[in-house]
Symmetry: C2
Subunit: 141 residues, 2 copies
DNA sequence: ATTTATGCAAATAGTTTGCACACGT
DNA sequence: ACGTGTGCAAACTATTTGCATAAAT
């Protein structure tokens, strides 16, 4: 039993061809943040026949199992927002999206994290989740 | 010429009935964050005949003119994300959304703002915009 | 053998757009 | 009168779902 096989079982998911294929693809991908459609297209172009609906279903399951995280970066440019997915890793981080190139940069700042907790607490709330996205542009020169 | 009238002209928008109606509605609304559909429904129930498409178009124009801000709170529960809009005011703020009630709480934290600038700078970027949303739950007891 | 997963096509939800007509200046 | 704005219905996009078939245990 290999690693991905075990990961799926641990997540309570039956080990099926599509799930294995998608999980392996995500782990091997050069790009960390991928849309459902990108995953679908790249797999099929690579000879793996998987339906788009299945990609969505599997991603939803992976997300529920915390194997991956889903992000909805409102690209600001209006137009329909596409969700993207990335493999879950132990360390939490937030994102910067370059409005010119679409490039996604990850970062983590303990001060910000701490302030968030503090602010929620002051209002009488616990944080369930949070999303911080900075839309940025490469500084001239 | 009243205030809303002037606001529209200043934004470079012709003063039309739907635009005035929507702007006044937003300024008079008890709820600060409204979806396009809520605005559409409430106006029509209030006797103002406005098409949904027009509501969307006007909101898009208002957003472009910085009269309002658009938010896409990924309610986490999966399902299609609906955008909501709020009147732009001078002071910037971020949001907390209660995952149980959908309630939206606004907050502002200078430390977080400063850190964001700093982090972007360190990576060689300027911040164009940013969105911080904390999904929270009322603290037990 | 049974249960769960998959693929396809059709359905959905929110939002956008084409076009004929109405409005604002 | 002229250029925009509006309403309606049809189009679109991303995503979900129903259903018959195919896998996995």
């Amino acid at each position: 039993m290999d690693k991905q096989d075990k990961d799926l079982k641990d997540a309570g998911l039956k080990v099926t061809q599509p799930r294995l294929t998608i999980l392996r693809f995500l782990e091997g991908a050069t790009q960390k943040h991928l849309t459902a459609d990108e995953i679908y297209r790249q797999l099929n172009e690579g000879g793996h026949e998987i339906g788009l609906a299945t990609v969505y279903r599997v991603l939803a399951q992976f997300e529920a199992a915390q194997l991956i995280h889903k992000h909805v970066f409102d690209d600001g440019s209006g137009r329909p927002a596409q969700a993207c997915y990335e493999l879950a890793v132990d360390d939490h981080h937030d994102h910067m999206v370059c409005v010119d190139t679409g490039e996604v940069i990850e970062f983590y700042d303990p001060q910000i994290e701490a302030r968030q907790e503090e602010i929620a607490r002051q209002h009488g709330y616990d944080i369930v989740d949070h999303a911080l996205v900075m839309y940025v542009r490469r500084k001239p020169h």
